[in-house]
């Protein structure tokens, strides 16, 4: 997805565009290592590199707020949660014998298909759009907040209700097993 914006550059790319493509390549590379490495914890750590690379891409597109939220939520919380789960269950140093899945070809097909769909949608939607990086910042906190709470407030509220439902569901699920154990 990150590479999709690159072809829109003109014949003489600017420094930002070159940096964008380079970071994009590094991000995709890190993502590939994430799914192909045989060491579980290394996969989680490569995920940090991938998500960090994405944050840098947002920064290069002047979407500063989104970039920091990306770092805060994904690197700071989701990966920590992942690592916590790995440490709690099984995280051997060295190769994990069961890190190979028989489904890997099916997974590859699904991944390529979804990547193609996403890239196609993004390219199709933003084909002629050109972000002027030198002009007024278009991804600042203020702009993001105004757009989010004026134009997209309904999806925002729908999402928050969805998350609340998930939260309540998680609590219910965890408490039910608790009570069962207590009854025994």
């Amino acid at each position: 997805m990150s590479l999709a914006a690159a072809p829109s550059g003109f014949l003489s790319p600017t420094g930002v565009e070159i940096a964008f493509v380079l970071v994009g390549i590094a991000t995709v590379g890190a993502a590939l290592v994430t799914v192909s490495t045989k060491q579980l914890v290394h996969a989680a750590l490569w995920l940090v590199v991938t998500l960090g690379g994405l944050a840098v891409e947002y920064l290069l597109l002047t979407a500063e707020f989104i970039a920091w939220v990306q770092v805060l939520i994904y690197v700071g919380s989701v990966v920590v949660l992942l690592l916590f789960g790995l440490m709690l269950t099984k995280a051997p140093i060295g190769r994990s014998p069961d890190a190979d899945s028989g489904n890997r070809w099916a997974a590859l097909v699904v991944a390529v298909a979804s990547a193609t769909t996403l890239v196609w949608v993004v390219v199709d939607a933003f084909r002629a759009t050109w972000i002027n990086l030198d002009g007024a910042v278009q991804g600042s906190t203020k702009v993001t907040g105004q757009i989010l709470f004026q134009h997209w407030v309904l999806p925002f509220e729908a999402l928050s209700v969805l998350l609340l439902a998930a939260l309540v569901g998680a609590i219910v699920l965890s408490r039910r097993t608790d009570r069962k154990n207590g009854a025994r």
Binding site: V41, H42, L45, V48, E64, F65, W68, V69, V71, L72, V75, G76, S77, V79, V80, L81, L83, F84, L86, M87, L88, A91, I93, G94, V137, S140, T141
Partner: protein, 320 residues
């Protein structure tokens, strides 16, 4: 050219602060702890009240052999101290010290930048805990992760309350908008923020993850020499960052008498008073148990932070 020079100077200044302030806090901790416990603390190194003790410590650390356990994951083990330390350097860039642009680099979403990057530092402890191939280290890593997940939320909520009050996420902007009555208004948020920050730094009484007398310094058990020193430096740099942030968000940063000329001094004084409190807490309270830690975060701090946000919202609507 002038711009380049300006940026370079600011970065050098931030680096100097990063290298000296944690040492000052460390030395203060030596002496303050000693006096609170009826001892003298270091007295010999350097002659005058042992001022050079930390320099001597540094030399000692540098001379020690850098050991990597045979079964450890070598690369991650060696990378972990850098991951733990560097985020604090980055955070210092965004913290405003005085009025009129006395800041390393003003960032639009500075508050989010600071919290996001501080969260990355904990990855260093997790990496160290896992890569050491040591049960105590793994336990320490687990506790670190659990603690982080519990205390990240109240910290964010408390910070969000300040951002709501100021109407901006930029750190200089927040200090700019400060009035004296903010401190009583945001006092709950301030306490929550400071407490959660202490827990995130794994300072006593929240030092269950490193608990030196139970799991032998947790994630850092296997570290020696310079790498261990880097972890210690990260802890003290963290104290500086946390105190400076609390100052900027809740105590009005450079505001005070004659703030136009000596504003930076006010920031420094407030920061060091808070650092003193951090040390004071370490000497005062016993270590909390793991379940007490979790309970404090989930049933104490988070409701308090939510109440603070509600209060901020109500007051904000009333005065606007």
């Amino acid at each position: 050219m002038n711009d380049v020079l300006d940026v370079a100077l600011r970065l050098v200044a931030v680096l100097v602060v990063f290298l000296t302030f944690p040492l000052v806090v460390g030395q203060t901790e030596h002496k303050v702890m000693a006096h609170m416990q009826g001892r003298l603390g270091p007295m010999y190194a350097g002659g005058f009240h042992g001022w050079a003790q930390l320099v001597a410590d540094g030399v000692k650390f540098a001379q020690k052999e850098d050991v990597v356990p045979a079964n450890a994951d070598r690369r991650i083990f060696q990378l972990a101290p850098a991951v733990a330390l560097l985020p604090y350097l980055l955070v210092l860039i965004a913290i405003p010290v005085g009025p009129h642009g006395f800041v390393g680099q003003a960032i639009d979403a500075g508050l989010f930048f600071v919290l996001a990057v501080m969260g990355v530092g904990v990855l260093g402890s997790l990496m160290a805990g896992w890569a050491s191939a040591n049960k105590f280290s793994l336990l320490g890593g687990l506790r670190t992760a659990a603690q982080l997940m519990a205390y990240e939320l109240p910290m964010l909520l408390a910070a969000a309350s300040v951002a709501m009050a100021a109407g901006t996420l930029s750190l200089p902007g927040i200090v700019e908008a400060y009035h004296w009555w903010w401190t009583p208004w945001q006092i709950i948020g301030a306490v929550v923020f400071f407490t959660a920050g202490l827990a995130e730094l794994q300072r006593p009484p929240f030092d269950m993850p490193v608990a030196d007398s139970e799991i032998i310094f947790g994630a850092y058990t296997e570290y020696t020499g310079l790498r261990f020193a880097l972890f210690l430096l990260a802890e003290y740099a963290g104290i500086v960052v946390l105190c400076a942030l609390t100052t900027v968000l809740f105590l009005g940063g450079w505001h005070g008498p004659w703030s136009d000329s000596v504003g930076w001094l006010w920031t420094l004084i407030k920061t060091f008073v808070l650092a003193f409190i951090v040390i004071w807490l370490r000497v005062t309270y016993p270590r909390m148990r793991e379940d007490q830690l979790q309970k404090l975060a989930w049933t104490g701090l988070i409701p308090l932070a939510l109440a603070q946000i509600a209060l901020t919202g109500v007051v904000k609507v009333v005065i606007s």
